[in-house]
Assembly symmetry: C2
Homo-oligomer: 121 residues x 2
């Protein structure tokens, strides 16, 4: 008799894995969490503000990532009728549902820093 070695994880778990894949597809890339994190702190911000605040990002990347986020309704884009035209970006109500993830990510990163720091002392 052949060894079966099937674990057959429950459907619930399969859904979990699918859910994780969905989330990560939407939030993939080097900059999305940074942009969202910054926007959540700063409220509504203009393009140039973000370019200055999100350290190291290039205009091209910022533009592309903002488009992605807008497409997924996580961020809203508002063109203001000011002297030199300005555009305001804001995290949508829906985007704010990501706050728990971002907070957990930030918490873990802080704890990681502390752990590494302690170990290297």
């Amino acid at each position: 008799m052949r060894k079966q070695a099937k674990l057959n994880i429950t459907p619930v778990c399969k859904n979990r894995i699918t859910a994780i894949r969905d989330s990560m597809e939407i939030l993939s890339g080097k900059w999305k969490f940074h942009i969202l994190g910054t926007l959540m702190e700063g409220g509504s911000m203009r393009f140039m503000d973000l370019l200055r605040e999100v350290e190291g990002i290039a205009a091209k990347m910022l533009s592309k990532e903002l488009q992605d986020l807008e497409m997924n309704q996580l961020v809203s884009r508002t063109v203001l009728d000011t002297k030199p035209i300005t555009v305001e970006y804001e995290v949508t109500e829906y985007g704010k549902t990501l706050k728990p993830i971002i907070d957990e990510l930030a918490n873990w990163g802080v704890a990681y820093r502390n752990a590494v720091f302690r170990n290297q002392k």
Copy 2:
């Protein structure tokens, strides 16, 4: 007088952003969350089990990602002295501190699915 347009986000926020970057560097790539999620469900699993359970991953990728995770002490590797040699992987106690992130990610992904489903109806 030149316009200053400096937001000067607080140091607290800078740390937050740095923390997010740290987390994402360790957890980057297409498969880390999947592997961790699967291992958290399955307890200790062997290489071939993971290869079967983590849908779509290739041996090369699984091997590389497991090495990364082991290096960061998120997963432990134990060689067992069995007839055909087997290797068990397990999430470490430290790795388990990632559970909140993974849970939030899964929750959000489920909610996202539901939202899309409702909108497309």
